[in-house]
């Protein structure tokens, strides 16, 4: 068993355990913190696969931006003071059966697919040099569209959370 394999198994184990804690923890803060661990293990998988640009972007976007957003919202809502809400045991059982069935279908479809061929290994694929060349050349239009999407999402978020102006409401 090589060192890469051992690292893979450790990362996979930590990732799966923290994912389970994320969906089962009662306190939303614990759930968010274990989601951070899960995202960091996924970033480590990216480093392992030599996708260094995506590893950095994953840490910056997910662990840096999205998780902080979640954390702020949860702390602002102060969910710990709300009454406990959880679905009944039957619902949880049904969810487990549904998720297990989905896993069964996925594994069954993996078993019958054997048409895979491997290309020549190329270590420069995940580097920022190769990725930037493709992003700024072949995919330049979607890249610009992304900026428009992010801009409109930002404006939408600000508009949605803005309190209604009392002054305007009285005069319309």
């Amino acid at each position: 068993m090589g060192i890469t394999e051992i690292i893979f198994y450790i990362l996979a184990f930590v990732g799966i355990v923290s994912a389970i804690v994320t969906v089962t923890a009662r306190n939303p803060i614990y759930s968010i913190l274990s989601l951070v661990i899960c995202f960091f293990t996924i970033s480590s998988h990216y480093v392992l696969m030599n996708a260094q640009f995506l590893a950095m972007v994953n840490i910056i976007v997910y662990a840096g931006a999205i998780i902080v957003l979640f954390l702020f919202v949860v702390m602002m809502m102060n969910l710990n003071e709300l009454p406990e809400m959880s679905k009944g045991l039957i619902w949880k059982l049904a969810a487990a059966v549904g998720a297990g069935g989905l896993l069964l279908v996925m594994v069954a479809s993996l078993k019958v697919s054997n048409e895979l061929v491997q290309a020549q290994p190329d270590n420069s694929v995940g580097m920022i040099h190769a990725l930037g060349r493709v992003l700024m050349g072949e995919f330049i239009v979607p890249f610009i569209m992304t900026s428009i999407l992010l801009n409109s999402a930002m404006i939408g978020a600000v508009l949605l959370t803005k309190r209604e102006n009392k002054f305007q409401k009285h005069h319309i």
């Binding site: 394999e5 990216y46 995506l54 979640f70």
Partner: protein
Amino acid sequence: MNIEILSGVSIQHYLWLSAILFVIGVFGVLSRRNAIIIFMSVELMLNAVNLLLVAFSKMHADTSGQVFVFFSMSVAAAEVAVGLAILVMLFRNMKTVDIEVLSKIKE
């Protein structure tokens, strides 16, 4: 079917890992009532798919898969920003994020 993308780690390993992470996300969406946790489960599912895309991009030595992951990350960021804004607005009016209560707001 045992194509090694790293030394000792085949594509099968990553298929399994992604499938398990995705299924955990599905379980979270189905079994929780807190809308924020459901959101986080959706993020988990998105990450599982991203991981598999990077693994296949490594296997085929093709950059396009990683570019696609980049776009899916930016779409996820936009989705979280708008979704959490909607949740904050709902919480301000309803004082709860319980989806059983929120499903009755159309009445």
